[in-house]
Protein backbone atom coordinates (compact mmCIF):
# COMPACT_ATOMS: atom_id res chain seq x y z
CA UNK A 1 0.00 0.00 0.00
CA UNK A 2 1.90 3.02 -1.32
CA UNK A 3 -0.68 5.60 -0.32
CA UNK A 4 -2.58 5.63 2.94
CA UNK A 5 -5.00 8.16 1.47
CA UNK A 6 -5.63 8.64 -2.22
CA UNK A 7 -8.37 10.98 -3.37
CA UNK A 8 -9.12 12.39 -6.77
CA UNK A 9 -11.90 14.70 -7.91
CA UNK A 10 -13.73 14.48 -4.61
CA UNK A 11 -17.08 16.20 -4.37
CA UNK A 12 -18.53 16.21 -0.88
CA UNK A 13 -21.64 17.84 0.52
CA UNK A 14 -24.44 17.52 2.99
CA UNK A 15 -27.84 16.28 1.91
CA UNK A 16 -29.88 18.74 -0.18
CA UNK A 17 -27.20 21.43 0.13
CA UNK A 18 -24.66 22.61 -2.41
CA UNK A 19 -21.43 20.58 -2.17
CA UNK A 20 -18.90 22.02 0.28
CA UNK A 21 -15.94 20.41 -1.45
CA UNK A 22 -16.03 20.49 -5.23
CA UNK A 23 -12.60 19.23 -6.17
CA UNK A 24 -10.22 17.63 -3.71
CA UNK A 25 -7.15 15.67 -4.74
CA UNK A 26 -4.83 14.12 -2.19
CA UNK A 27 -2.07 11.57 -2.18
CA UNK A 28 -0.74 10.84 1.30
CA UNK A 29 1.93 8.23 1.86
CA UNK A 30 2.53 6.21 4.98
CA UNK A 31 4.23 8.03 7.88
CA UNK A 32 3.54 11.44 6.40
CA UNK A 33 2.42 14.31 8.61
CA UNK A 34 -0.18 16.38 6.80
CA UNK A 35 -1.87 19.66 7.60
CA UNK A 36 -5.10 20.79 5.99
CA UNK A 37 -5.72 24.48 6.58
CA UNK A 38 -8.30 26.96 5.41
CA UNK A 39 -10.66 29.67 6.56
CA UNK A 40 -13.59 28.95 8.87
CA UNK A 41 -16.41 27.30 6.95
CA UNK A 42 -14.16 26.34 4.07
CA UNK A 43 -14.92 22.64 4.56
CA UNK A 44 -11.89 21.37 6.51
CA UNK A 45 -14.00 19.27 8.89
CA UNK A 46 -16.04 18.01 5.93
CA UNK A 47 -12.87 16.54 4.41
CA UNK A 48 -11.94 14.82 7.69
CA UNK A 49 -15.49 13.47 8.04
CA UNK A 50 -15.27 11.95 4.59
CA UNK A 51 -11.95 10.29 5.48
CA UNK A 52 -13.52 8.30 8.33
CA UNK A 53 -16.74 7.70 6.43
CA UNK A 54 -19.17 9.91 8.31
CA UNK A 55 -19.83 11.67 5.02
CA UNK A 56 -19.51 9.78 1.79
CA UNK A 57 -18.37 11.61 -1.35
CA UNK A 58 -20.94 12.44 -4.03
CA UNK A 59 -18.42 11.96 -6.80
CA UNK A 60 -14.76 11.16 -7.17
CA UNK A 61 -12.51 8.40 -5.94
CA UNK A 62 -11.45 7.94 -2.35
CA UNK A 63 -9.25 5.20 -0.95
CA UNK A 64 -8.28 5.14 2.73
CA UNK A 65 -5.92 2.44 4.08
CA UNK A 66 -6.62 0.36 0.97
CA UNK A 67 -10.40 0.59 1.35
CA UNK A 68 -12.24 1.94 -1.68
CA UNK A 69 -15.16 4.14 -0.66
CA UNK A 70 -17.25 3.34 -3.73
CA UNK A 71 -20.15 1.16 -2.56
CA UNK A 72 -18.64 0.78 0.91
CA UNK A 73 -20.88 -1.22 3.25
CA UNK A 74 -21.31 -0.72 6.98
CA UNK A 75 -19.26 -3.79 7.91
CA UNK A 76 -16.33 -2.67 5.73
CA UNK A 77 -16.59 0.83 7.15
CA UNK A 78 -16.59 -0.53 10.72
CA UNK A 79 -13.50 -2.55 9.92
CA UNK A 80 -11.70 0.47 8.44
CA UNK A 81 -12.55 2.61 11.47
CA UNK A 82 -10.82 0.08 13.73
CA UNK A 83 -7.53 1.03 12.03
CA UNK A 84 -8.10 4.76 12.42
CA UNK A 85 -7.54 7.04 15.38
CA UNK A 86 -9.82 10.05 15.29
CA UNK A 87 -9.51 13.18 17.43
CA UNK A 88 -12.49 15.52 17.40
CA UNK A 89 -12.67 19.19 18.19
CA UNK A 90 -15.49 18.52 20.68
CA UNK A 91 -13.60 15.48 22.13
CA UNK A 92 -16.56 13.06 21.80
CA UNK A 93 -15.90 11.29 25.09
CA UNK A 94 -18.60 9.06 26.55
CA UNK A 95 -19.88 10.93 29.59
CA UNK A 96 -21.09 7.91 31.51
CA UNK A 97 -17.73 6.13 31.19
CA UNK A 98 -14.61 6.84 33.23
CA UNK A 99 -11.41 8.20 31.68
CA UNK A 100 -9.94 4.69 31.71
CA UNK A 101 -12.99 3.17 29.97
CA UNK A 102 -12.98 5.91 27.35
CA UNK A 103 -9.33 5.23 26.48
CA UNK A 104 -10.06 1.50 26.34
CA UNK A 105 -12.91 1.96 23.83
CA UNK A 106 -11.00 1.21 20.57
CA UNK A 107 -9.27 -1.73 22.26
CA UNK A 108 -12.57 -3.19 23.45
CA UNK A 109 -13.99 -2.81 19.94
CA UNK A 110 -10.83 -4.42 18.56
CA UNK A 111 -11.48 -7.46 20.78
CA UNK A 112 -8.43 -7.18 23.03
CA UNK A 113 -8.44 -8.89 26.42
CA UNK A 114 -9.31 -6.86 29.50
CA UNK A 115 -5.77 -7.02 30.87
CA UNK A 116 -4.29 -5.72 27.60
CA UNK A 117 -6.89 -2.93 27.50
CA UNK A 118 -6.11 -1.86 31.07
CA UNK A 119 -2.32 -2.03 30.54
CA UNK A 120 -2.45 0.04 27.36
CA UNK A 121 -4.88 2.57 28.85
CA UNK A 122 -2.62 3.09 31.87
CA UNK A 123 0.45 3.48 29.64
CA UNK A 124 -1.20 6.13 27.48
CA UNK A 125 -2.78 8.00 30.37
CA UNK A 126 0.65 8.15 31.98
CA UNK A 127 1.94 9.55 28.70
CA UNK A 128 -0.68 12.32 28.64
CA UNK A 129 -0.07 12.92 32.36
CA UNK A 130 -3.57 11.96 33.44
CA UNK A 131 -2.96 8.66 35.21
CA UNK A 132 -4.12 10.21 38.48
CA UNK A 133 -7.54 10.96 36.91
CA UNK A 134 -8.14 7.43 35.67
CA UNK A 135 -11.42 6.98 37.55
CA UNK A 136 -12.81 10.44 36.87
CA UNK A 137 -15.61 11.09 34.43
CA UNK A 138 -15.16 13.44 31.44
CA UNK A 139 -17.38 16.11 32.97
CA UNK A 140 -14.97 16.28 35.92
CA UNK A 141 -12.08 17.28 33.64
CA UNK A 142 -11.08 20.57 32.01
CA UNK A 143 -11.28 20.98 28.22
CA UNK A 144 -7.53 20.47 27.86
CA UNK A 145 -7.63 17.30 29.96
CA UNK A 146 -10.57 15.95 27.97
CA UNK A 147 -8.70 16.48 24.71
CA UNK A 148 -5.66 14.66 26.16
CA UNK A 149 -7.95 11.74 27.04
CA UNK A 150 -9.35 11.84 23.49
CA UNK A 151 -5.77 11.81 22.18
CA UNK A 152 -4.89 8.81 24.35
CA UNK A 153 -8.00 7.05 23.02
CA UNK A 154 -6.99 7.80 19.42
CA UNK A 155 -3.56 6.26 20.02
CA UNK A 156 -4.66 3.30 22.15
CA UNK A 157 -4.88 0.73 19.35
CA UNK A 158 -1.77 1.90 17.43
CA UNK A 159 -3.74 3.09 14.41
CA UNK A 160 -2.37 3.23 10.88
CA UNK A 161 -3.81 6.69 10.40
CA UNK A 162 -4.68 9.47 12.85
CA UNK A 163 -7.26 12.03 11.76
CA UNK A 164 -7.40 15.11 13.98
CA UNK A 165 -10.01 17.81 13.55
CA UNK A 166 -8.80 21.05 15.18
CA UNK A 167 -7.26 19.08 18.08
CA UNK A 168 -5.92 22.19 19.81
CA UNK A 169 -8.70 24.58 18.82
CA UNK A 170 -9.95 25.34 22.33
CA UNK A 171 -6.90 24.41 24.39
CA UNK A 172 -4.42 26.23 26.60
CA UNK A 173 -0.76 26.30 25.54
CA UNK A 174 0.26 23.43 27.86
CA UNK A 175 -2.39 21.04 26.58
CA UNK A 176 -1.72 22.12 22.98
CA UNK A 177 1.95 21.29 23.42
CA UNK A 178 1.12 17.86 24.86
CA UNK A 179 -1.17 17.14 21.88
CA UNK A 180 1.39 18.23 19.25
CA UNK A 181 4.12 16.20 20.94
CA UNK A 182 1.87 13.12 20.96
CA UNK A 183 1.02 13.51 17.28
CA UNK A 184 4.67 14.06 16.42
CA UNK A 185 5.64 11.05 18.55
CA UNK A 186 3.05 8.86 16.82
CA UNK A 187 4.58 9.66 13.43
CA UNK A 188 8.20 9.35 14.56
CA UNK A 189 8.03 6.35 16.91
CA UNK A 190 5.03 4.37 15.69
CA UNK A 191 5.20 5.26 11.98
CA UNK A 192 1.62 6.49 12.03
CA UNK A 193 0.33 8.72 9.25
CA UNK A 194 -1.16 11.88 10.71
CA UNK A 195 -3.68 14.22 9.07
CA UNK A 196 -4.50 17.34 11.03
CA UNK A 197 -7.08 19.98 10.20
CA UNK A 198 -6.13 23.27 11.84
CA UNK A 199 -6.27 27.05 11.59
CA UNK A 200 -2.64 27.52 12.48
CA UNK A 201 0.37 25.29 11.92
CA UNK A 202 2.54 25.43 15.05
CA UNK A 203 5.88 27.05 14.31
CA UNK A 204 7.79 24.93 16.81
CA UNK A 205 6.76 21.50 15.52
CA UNK A 206 10.19 20.64 14.13
CA UNK A 207 9.21 17.94 11.61
CA UNK A 208 8.68 17.75 7.86
CA UNK A 209 5.08 17.98 6.82
CA UNK A 210 2.84 18.22 3.80
CA UNK A 211 0.40 21.12 3.61
CA UNK A 212 -2.93 21.35 1.84
CA UNK A 213 -4.92 24.55 1.70
CA UNK A 214 -8.66 24.56 1.17
CA UNK A 215 -10.26 27.49 -0.61
CA UNK A 216 -13.56 27.81 -2.46
CA UNK A 217 -14.21 24.10 -2.20
CA UNK A 218 -10.91 23.21 -3.89
CA UNK A 219 -7.98 21.61 -2.13
CA UNK A 220 -4.56 22.90 -3.18
CA UNK A 221 -1.22 21.46 -2.18
CA UNK A 222 1.08 24.14 -0.79
CA UNK A 223 4.75 23.70 -1.67
Amino acid sequence: MEYVIKASGLNIGYERDEPVITDANMAIKAQEFVFITGKSGSGKSTIIKSLYGELLPNHGELNVCGVDFRNIGSSKLNLLRRYLGVVFQDYKLIDEWTVEQNVMLPLIIGGFSKSVCIKQAHKLLKHVKLLHKINKYPYELSGGEQQRVAMARALAHNPILILADEPTGNLDSYSSEVIWNLLKGAKEHLGTTVVVVTHNIPSTLGIDYKHYFLEGGVLHEVN
Binding site: Y52, L79, L80, R81, E96, L105, P106, I109
Partner: protein, 269 residues
Protein backbone atom coordinates in the same frame (compact mmCIF):
# COMPACT_ATOMS: atom_id res chain seq x y z
CA UNK B 1 -32.52 7.57 40.68
CA UNK B 2 -32.97 8.36 36.99
CA UNK B 3 -31.49 4.99 36.12
CA UNK B 4 -33.80 3.16 38.56
CA UNK B 5 -36.89 4.87 37.11
CA UNK B 6 -35.77 3.95 33.58
CA UNK B 7 -35.43 0.30 34.68
CA UNK B 8 -38.75 0.50 36.49
CA UNK B 9 -40.69 1.63 33.44
CA UNK B 10 -39.50 -1.36 31.39
CA UNK B 11 -40.06 -3.70 34.33
CA UNK B 12 -43.61 -2.41 34.93
CA UNK B 13 -44.67 -2.46 31.28
CA UNK B 14 -43.22 -5.92 30.75
CA UNK B 15 -44.85 -7.13 33.99
CA UNK B 16 -48.25 -5.75 32.96
CA UNK B 17 -47.96 -7.30 29.51
CA UNK B 18 -46.99 -10.75 30.82
CA UNK B 19 -49.46 -10.55 33.71
CA UNK B 20 -52.39 -9.88 31.39
CA UNK B 21 -51.20 -12.59 28.99
CA UNK B 22 -51.12 -15.14 31.82
CA UNK B 23 -54.44 -13.81 33.17
CA UNK B 24 -56.18 -14.75 29.91
CA UNK B 25 -54.68 -18.24 30.23
CA UNK B 26 -55.95 -18.58 33.78
CA UNK B 27 -59.44 -17.37 32.84
CA UNK B 28 -59.46 -19.68 29.84
CA UNK B 29 -58.53 -22.60 32.07
CA UNK B 30 -61.20 -21.70 34.68
CA UNK B 31 -63.87 -21.34 31.96
CA UNK B 32 -62.88 -24.62 30.34
CA UNK B 33 -62.97 -26.34 33.69
CA UNK B 34 -66.41 -24.90 34.45
CA UNK B 35 -67.62 -25.78 30.97
CA UNK B 36 -66.57 -29.40 31.47
CA UNK B 37 -68.48 -29.39 34.77
CA UNK B 38 -71.61 -28.15 32.98
CA UNK B 39 -71.22 -30.65 30.23
CA UNK B 40 -71.10 -33.41 32.82
CA UNK B 41 -74.39 -32.18 34.28
CA UNK B 42 -75.93 -31.57 30.88
CA UNK B 43 -77.78 -34.17 28.84
CA UNK B 44 -80.19 -34.33 25.92
CA UNK B 45 -83.18 -36.51 26.54
CA UNK B 46 -84.48 -38.52 23.62
CA UNK B 47 -87.68 -40.56 23.38
CA UNK B 48 -87.43 -43.41 20.93
CA UNK B 49 -89.74 -46.23 19.93
CA UNK B 50 -86.80 -48.51 19.19
CA UNK B 51 -83.48 -49.21 20.78
CA UNK B 52 -80.69 -46.68 19.94
CA UNK B 53 -77.13 -47.82 19.36
CA UNK B 54 -74.33 -45.61 20.59
CA UNK B 55 -71.94 -46.27 17.66
CA UNK B 56 -74.57 -45.46 15.06
CA UNK B 57 -75.55 -42.21 16.77
CA UNK B 58 -71.89 -41.21 17.20
CA UNK B 59 -71.35 -41.68 13.47
CA UNK B 60 -73.99 -39.04 12.76
CA UNK B 61 -73.26 -36.78 15.73
CA UNK B 62 -69.61 -36.96 16.82
CA UNK B 63 -70.22 -34.72 19.91
CA UNK B 64 -72.10 -37.56 21.58
CA UNK B 65 -69.86 -39.14 24.15
CA UNK B 66 -72.24 -41.71 25.58
CA UNK B 67 -75.86 -42.70 25.68
CA UNK B 68 -77.65 -44.35 28.53
CA UNK B 69 -81.15 -45.60 28.82
CA UNK B 70 -83.39 -43.98 31.45
CA UNK B 71 -85.08 -46.76 33.29
CA UNK B 72 -88.90 -46.72 33.26
CA UNK B 73 -89.01 -49.03 36.25
CA UNK B 74 -89.79 -46.22 38.73
CA UNK B 75 -92.87 -45.09 36.78
CA UNK B 76 -94.11 -48.65 36.40
CA UNK B 77 -93.58 -49.29 40.11
CA UNK B 78 -95.73 -46.27 40.93
CA UNK B 79 -98.53 -47.61 38.70
CA UNK B 80 -98.30 -51.13 40.10
CA UNK B 81 -101.11 -50.65 42.64
CA UNK B 82 -103.42 -48.83 40.25
CA UNK B 83 -103.26 -51.24 37.30
CA UNK B 84 -103.65 -54.90 36.75
CA UNK B 85 -100.51 -56.87 36.06
CA UNK B 86 -101.75 -57.67 32.55
CA UNK B 87 -102.28 -54.02 31.70
CA UNK B 88 -98.95 -53.19 33.27
CA UNK B 89 -97.24 -55.75 31.04
CA UNK B 90 -98.97 -54.23 28.00
CA UNK B 91 -97.94 -50.76 29.05
CA UNK B 92 -94.36 -51.91 29.53
CA UNK B 93 -94.30 -53.17 25.94
CA UNK B 94 -95.98 -50.05 24.54
CA UNK B 95 -93.89 -47.57 26.56
CA UNK B 96 -91.17 -45.90 24.45
CA UNK B 97 -87.52 -45.95 25.46
CA UNK B 98 -86.00 -42.89 27.13
CA UNK B 99 -82.32 -42.07 26.56
CA UNK B 100 -79.98 -39.58 28.08
CA UNK B 101 -77.25 -38.38 25.67
CA UNK B 102 -74.02 -37.02 27.15
CA UNK B 103 -71.90 -34.69 25.04
CA UNK B 104 -68.11 -34.42 24.94
CA UNK B 105 -68.01 -30.65 24.83
CA UNK B 106 -70.24 -27.70 25.49
CA UNK B 107 -71.95 -26.80 22.21
CA UNK B 108 -73.41 -23.42 21.35
CA UNK B 109 -77.08 -22.76 20.51
CA UNK B 110 -76.59 -23.28 16.79
CA UNK B 111 -74.87 -26.59 17.30
CA UNK B 112 -77.57 -27.77 19.72
CA UNK B 113 -80.19 -26.96 17.06
CA UNK B 114 -78.26 -29.01 14.51
CA UNK B 115 -77.96 -31.92 16.92
CA UNK B 116 -81.67 -31.69 17.63
CA UNK B 117 -82.49 -31.70 13.91
CA UNK B 118 -80.24 -34.69 13.29
CA UNK B 119 -81.79 -36.59 16.15
CA UNK B 120 -85.32 -35.70 15.05
CA UNK B 121 -84.60 -36.95 11.55
CA UNK B 122 -84.16 -40.47 12.94
CA UNK B 123 -87.51 -42.14 12.31
CA UNK B 124 -87.73 -44.02 15.60
CA UNK B 125 -87.12 -40.87 17.66
CA UNK B 126 -90.38 -39.17 18.54
CA UNK B 127 -89.17 -36.40 20.82
CA UNK B 128 -85.92 -34.59 21.65
CA UNK B 129 -85.51 -32.34 24.66
CA UNK B 130 -82.31 -30.26 24.66
CA UNK B 131 -82.99 -27.90 27.62
CA UNK B 132 -81.33 -25.34 25.40
CA UNK B 133 -82.51 -22.24 27.28
CA UNK B 134 -80.94 -23.16 30.62
CA UNK B 135 -77.80 -24.30 28.98
CA UNK B 136 -77.55 -21.32 26.65
CA UNK B 137 -77.83 -18.79 29.49
CA UNK B 138 -74.88 -20.32 31.29
CA UNK B 139 -72.86 -20.69 28.14
CA UNK B 140 -73.44 -17.08 27.09
CA UNK B 141 -72.34 -15.89 30.49
CA UNK B 142 -69.06 -17.72 30.07
CA UNK B 143 -68.54 -16.37 26.59
CA UNK B 144 -69.22 -12.87 27.89
CA UNK B 145 -66.74 -13.35 30.73
CA UNK B 146 -64.07 -14.62 28.36
CA UNK B 147 -64.69 -11.80 25.88
CA UNK B 148 -64.47 -9.23 28.67
CA UNK B 149 -61.14 -10.66 29.78
CA UNK B 150 -59.80 -10.56 26.22
CA UNK B 151 -60.93 -6.95 25.76
CA UNK B 152 -59.42 -6.01 29.11
CA UNK B 153 -56.16 -7.74 28.17
CA UNK B 154 -56.10 -5.97 24.83
CA UNK B 155 -56.39 -2.54 26.46
CA UNK B 156 -53.84 -3.40 29.12
CA UNK B 157 -51.45 -4.62 26.42
CA UNK B 158 -51.98 -1.37 24.50
CA UNK B 159 -51.10 0.66 27.59
CA UNK B 160 -48.02 -1.51 28.17
CA UNK B 161 -46.88 -1.04 24.57
CA UNK B 162 -47.38 2.73 24.89
CA UNK B 163 -45.23 2.71 28.03
CA UNK B 164 -42.55 0.76 26.19
CA UNK B 165 -42.63 3.20 23.26
CA UNK B 166 -42.25 6.07 25.70
CA UNK B 167 -39.23 4.39 27.27
CA UNK B 168 -37.81 3.69 23.82
CA UNK B 169 -37.97 7.43 23.05
CA UNK B 170 -36.10 8.16 26.28
CA UNK B 171 -33.50 5.56 25.45
CA UNK B 172 -33.00 7.00 21.98
CA UNK B 173 -32.20 10.30 23.62
CA UNK B 174 -30.02 8.76 26.34
CA UNK B 175 -27.94 6.36 24.27
CA UNK B 176 -27.75 8.05 20.88
CA UNK B 177 -24.51 9.91 21.65
CA UNK B 178 -22.71 6.92 23.18
CA UNK B 179 -23.66 4.64 20.31
CA UNK B 180 -22.68 7.25 17.74
CA UNK B 181 -19.23 7.59 19.35
CA UNK B 182 -18.80 3.82 19.44
CA UNK B 183 -19.76 3.70 15.75
CA UNK B 184 -17.02 6.23 14.95
CA UNK B 185 -14.50 3.73 16.33
CA UNK B 186 -15.91 0.85 14.31
CA UNK B 187 -18.23 -0.85 16.80
CA UNK B 188 -20.63 -3.30 15.23
CA UNK B 189 -24.41 -3.05 15.67
CA UNK B 190 -24.51 -5.61 18.50
CA UNK B 191 -21.52 -4.12 20.26
CA UNK B 192 -23.15 -0.69 20.25
CA UNK B 193 -26.46 -2.09 21.44
CA UNK B 194 -25.08 -4.62 23.94
CA UNK B 195 -25.78 -2.39 26.91
CA UNK B 196 -29.41 -1.85 25.89
CA UNK B 197 -29.93 -5.57 25.28
CA UNK B 198 -28.43 -6.45 28.65
CA UNK B 199 -30.50 -3.86 30.51
CA UNK B 200 -33.77 -4.86 28.88
CA UNK B 201 -33.17 -8.58 29.17
CA UNK B 202 -32.52 -8.27 32.90
CA UNK B 203 -35.63 -6.10 33.43
CA UNK B 204 -37.95 -8.30 31.42
CA UNK B 205 -36.55 -11.50 32.90
CA UNK B 206 -37.17 -10.13 36.40
CA UNK B 207 -40.71 -9.15 35.46
CA UNK B 208 -41.34 -12.63 34.00
CA UNK B 209 -40.10 -14.24 37.21
CA UNK B 210 -42.33 -11.95 39.29
CA UNK B 211 -45.36 -12.87 37.15
CA UNK B 212 -44.50 -16.59 37.52
CA UNK B 213 -44.17 -16.21 41.29
CA UNK B 214 -47.49 -14.35 41.48
CA UNK B 215 -49.42 -17.01 39.58
CA UNK B 216 -47.71 -19.75 41.57
CA UNK B 217 -48.30 -18.29 45.01
CA UNK B 218 -51.71 -16.60 44.76
CA UNK B 219 -53.84 -19.68 43.82
CA UNK B 220 -52.35 -21.49 46.82
CA UNK B 221 -53.37 -18.82 49.32
CA UNK B 222 -56.20 -20.03 51.62
CA UNK B 223 -58.19 -16.86 50.95
CA UNK B 224 -58.04 -17.36 47.16
CA UNK B 225 -58.92 -21.03 47.51
CA UNK B 226 -61.89 -20.28 49.76
CA UNK B 227 -63.16 -17.67 47.30
CA UNK B 228 -62.74 -20.07 44.37
CA UNK B 229 -64.59 -22.80 46.27
CA UNK B 230 -67.44 -20.39 46.88
CA UNK B 231 -67.72 -19.80 43.14
CA UNK B 232 -67.33 -23.51 42.47
CA UNK B 233 -64.26 -22.97 40.29
CA UNK B 234 -60.81 -24.52 40.45
CA UNK B 235 -57.86 -22.13 40.32
CA UNK B 236 -55.25 -23.71 38.02
CA UNK B 237 -51.86 -24.39 39.57
CA UNK B 238 -48.89 -22.78 37.84
CA UNK B 239 -46.76 -25.04 35.70
CA UNK B 240 -43.21 -23.71 36.01
CA UNK B 241 -41.85 -25.87 33.24
CA UNK B 242 -44.43 -25.07 30.56
CA UNK B 243 -46.03 -21.76 31.55
CA UNK B 244 -42.80 -20.51 33.16
CA UNK B 245 -40.79 -21.13 30.02
CA UNK B 246 -43.51 -19.54 27.85
CA UNK B 247 -43.46 -16.40 30.00
CA UNK B 248 -39.64 -16.20 30.15
CA UNK B 249 -39.43 -16.90 26.42
CA UNK B 250 -42.05 -14.26 25.66
CA UNK B 251 -40.19 -11.76 27.85
CA UNK B 252 -36.96 -12.48 25.94
CA UNK B 253 -38.63 -12.05 22.55
CA UNK B 254 -40.30 -8.89 23.76
CA UNK B 255 -36.97 -7.49 25.01
CA UNK B 256 -35.16 -8.33 21.76
CA UNK B 257 -37.87 -6.68 19.64
CA UNK B 258 -37.99 -3.56 21.84
CA UNK B 259 -34.23 -3.06 21.83
CA UNK B 260 -33.89 -3.81 18.13
CA UNK B 261 -36.44 -1.08 17.39
CA UNK B 262 -34.49 1.37 19.57
CA UNK B 263 -31.10 0.44 18.20
CA UNK B 264 -32.24 0.54 14.57
CA UNK B 265 -33.91 3.89 15.15
CA UNK B 266 -30.71 5.25 16.75
CA UNK B 267 -28.73 3.85 13.84
CA UNK B 268 -30.80 5.93 11.48
CA UNK B 269 -30.55 9.16 13.50
Amino acid sequence: MKSISSHFSIFISSFVLLFSFQFTNVIKSIVNDYASKIVNDYAIVVVSSAELKEEELQKQIPEIESISEISSKKILDRLKNEMSSKNLALLQVALPKFYSLKLGSLPDKKRIETIKQKLSSITTISRVETFAKTHEKMFKMFLLLQAMVYIFTFFVACIAVLLILKQIRIWIYEHQRRMAIMALFGASFFMKSAMLYRMTLVDTLLSALCVCAFYDIVPRLPLAQAYAAELDVVLPSFNWLYEGSVLVGASFVFALIAVSIVARKIGRV
